[in-house]
């Protein structure tokens, strides 16, 4: 299945800037959706469910908006786990604002007027980041699904195994026979589709289920 065209969301209160950005991005083969205010962007149905969308996307955001400050929108998006990479644009960039934006995870901070290539590069980078993020999220969702298919006992076994215990130790800790541990362990490797113990450890790290060592 070919990947759908990346979507760029543009939020800028100035109509002519908005329109010109739209045209520029469309000329570069991107699809664009423009919004005059932060609220309009948040209210629109698409960005609220970006994780379900197939197309990678990014947000081109004017720092100074009449309703909400660009940095505040960035924070609010992080709060609601709206993970779209942001490229900030501003009429007059000051260093504190740009530092805060970058620290909060912005891809780029461009001062108007900017060179088209700079913007397109930043957008390309942002989309790449979104794509990677998306892949990661998809992977994680997949892993989580597999993990969810484990029985409680299997999960217990997995936790102890990735913590580095031998089958004997696991059996002792859970009060079951070593043979049963082996069967559970085989089940875990199969359900999690892990090719090796190292693979399983990596997966558990991603899932964040590495248990604190007790010895």
């Amino acid at each position: 299945m070919p990947e759908p065209t990346p979507i760029v969301f543009v939020v800028d209160d100035d109509e002519s800037v908005r329109k010109s950005l739209g045209s520029l991005l469309r000329s570069a083969g991107l699809s664009v959706e423009t919004f005059a205010s932060a609220q309009q962007f948040l209210d629109s149905p698409r960005p609220n469910s970006p994780n379900n969308m197939d197309a990678p996307s990014c947000l081109v955001l004017d720092v100074r908006l009449p309703d909400v400050h660009g940095l505040d929108l960035q924070r609010r998006m992080a709060e609601v786990k709206l993970e779209i990479p942001i490229v900030f644009i501003t009429g007059h960039g000051d260093i504190p604002t740009s530092v805060r934006a970058m620290k909060a995870g912005a891809v780029e901070f461009l001062t108007k007027p900017f060179c088209d290539q700079d913007l397109l590069d930043a957008i390309g980078q942002a989309i790449e980041r979104d794509r990677a993020g998306r892949r990661q999220r998809a992977e994680l969702a997949e892993l989580r699904g597999r993990y969810e298919s484990l029985t409680p006992r299997e999960r217990e076994v997995m936790e102890l195994v990735v913590a580095g215990r031998l089958n004997k130790q696991v059996a002792a800790e859970l009060g079951i026979s070593e043979v049963t541990v082996k069967i559970h362990r085989g089940q875990v490797m199969g359900k999690m589709r892990a090719e090796s113990l190292a693979d399983l450890v990596r997966m558990s790290e991603k899932l964040g289920i590495a248990r604190a060592k007790t010895w």
């Binding site: 100035d14 108007k112 088209d116």
Partner: protein
């Protein structure tokens, strides 16, 4: 005072002497001509009157006694022999003397009042000639009748020249026709005249004079005379001009400073269309570079470039107009348009400070008479002040409302309402004082200048505390009248 005594002595002695001589001569002539005594007595009385006109009471009394003695000696029988034998001899001299003395007394009274009138006339003349003003009178036809000494000295014209022309010759050639027209109109209407004209002073310099004239009417209401004064107002005029220029200069400086405060917003206001132009230019090239080129999109972006270029140009034009140093030019203006222009410049400043800028402009307001730049300056100043007044407000929305409406019958009112920290009642007037400021940077001239501009427009600028938080600044302007 030394020569005063002989002077006074001669004032009494001379009439005595001349009176006696006159009587002697008269007696001699009458005696030879055998004139009858009654006629002689009358002639004597005339001499006495003449004496009393020249001198005071004493010479007149002396001359009267001498006259009686002559009359008794030369004209009544028996001649050369004064006798008191008959009652008539007693009654006649007493009657004659009494008549003579009464006449003398009366005449000296008359003489005295004549002298007083003369003195009063001299005094009046002195007042009129020394009064620091050019005083004149004219006949109902407008020709000059009297010109005071100051007038003659001021213009350097002779009385004859002045009377002949009524000073018209001294009026500046450029003002002459207008002045003559106004004077004729006043004469025809019989209404007081008040006008200004430049008059040539004796040294050849033309100076502005304020000329005023009022008619004097008789009981029937017919104009008898015109009285007028002309006052040199050149120095005052120049001082006013200087002060007006200084004020314009100061207004310009404060305007530039205000614009300085707006610098960031203005830069943004220009930067936006520039950014759009750059974007559109890049997009245009890309659309053209496609295979096949997308001409429709390219055309659309080119149009965008034109629009944005025009927009940036307009912003610059507006700023330049505000920064330009111009003479005050009062013209017919739409105040709502002025407000909108200012809002375009300050919109960004408001957004930057988190202020919602709202307008409530009354439709079909009458036009006002005013100077575009100066009125923009006032509104700009009030808007910036309002935005700054709300800088520390965090617990409520920061709102700035600019409204316009009709005020009374002949005025338009503009109000700028903020929801800021407000102003203490005791400072509501102080804020209009020069150099009064609450800002760390600022001359404290903004409101003082604004008020003087509004007053120069015949309006009023004042501040009122809101019922809720904040302050409302409002000013009135006069409606534009066609005939001005």
């Amino acid at each position: 005072m030394k020569h005063n005594r002989p002077d006074r002595f001669w004032r009494s002695a001379a009439p005595c002497l001349f009176g006696s001589l006159g009587l002697a001569l008269l007696t001699f002539v009458c005696f030879r001509l055998q004139v009858n005594p009654t006629t002689v007595a009358l002639l004597y009385l005339i001499v006495i009157v003449l004496v009393s006109l020249r001198g005071n009471f004493i010479p007149a009394a002396l001359v009267s006694i001498i006259a009686y003695l002559f009359l008794d000696s030369f004209f009544t029988a028996p001649l050369f022999h004064p006798a008191m034998s008959q009652p008539l001899d007693v009654v006649a001299p007493i009657a004659f003397l009494t008549t003579a003395l009464v006449i003398t007394r009366l005449m000296s009274r008359v003489r005295k009042s004549f002298q007083e009138i003369e003195a009063l006339k001299d005094q009046l003349r002195l007042v009129i000639d020394t009064i620091p003003g050019l005083v004149w009178s004219a006949l109902p036809d407008g020709s000059a009748e009297f010109l005071n000494q100051r007038w003659l000295e001021y213009t350097g014209l002779s009385l004859a020249e002045g009377l002949d022309w009524g000073g018209r010759v001294a009026v500046h050639p450029e003002d002459r026709a207008r002045f003559v027209d106004e004077w004729r109109a006043a004469l025809a209407a019989g209404k007081p005249l008040e006008t200004e004209a430049r008059l040539r002073r004796a040294d050849g310099e033309y100076r502005s004079l304020l000329i005023r004239a009022v008619p004097l009417r008789d009981e029937q209401g017919k104009i008898v005379k015109w009285y007028g004064t002309s006052t040199d107002i050149e120095d005052r005029r120049r001082a006013e001009e200087t002060s007006r220029k200084a004020q314009a200069e100061l207004a310009h400086v404060t305007r530039v400073m205000t614009m300085g405060e707006l610098a960031a917003s203005i830069a943004h206001e220009i930067n936006q269309p520039l950014a759009a132009i750059v974007n559109n230019g890049s997009a245009c090239l890309r659309w053209l570079a496609g295979d096949p080129p997308n001409l429709d999109e390219a055309r659309e972006t080119a149009r965008g470039i034109i629009c944005d270029g025009t927009r940036a140009g307009e912003v610059i034009t507006r700023i330049r107009a505000l920064l330009r140093k111009t003479e005050t030019q009062k013209v017919r203006l739409d105040i709502n348009q002025i407000i909108q222009e200012v809002v375009l410049l300050t919109r960004n400043e408001a957004v930057r400070n988190g202020v919602a800028l709202r307008m409530e402009l009354a439709a079909d307001l009458p036009p006002v008479l005013g100077d575009r730049v100066q009125l923009q300056q006032i509104i700009l100043n009030l808007v910036i002040n309002g935005v700054e007044a709300m800088a520390s407000v965090t617990d409520r929305p920061r709102e700035l409302l600019i409204s316009s409406r009709q005020h009374e019958a002949d005025q338009v009112l503009v109000a700028v309402e903020d929801s800021g920290v407000g102003i203490d009642r005791e400072n509501l007037e102080k804020i209009f004082d020069a150099f009064y400021t609450t800002k760390s940077q600022g001359l404290g001239m903004g409101l003082a200048i604004s008020r003087s501009i509004v007053e120069d427009h015949g309006g009023r600028l004042w501040a009122v505390p809101n019922d809720g938080p904040g302050t409302t600044f409002q000013f009135t302007l006069l409606k534009y009248h066609e005939e001005r």
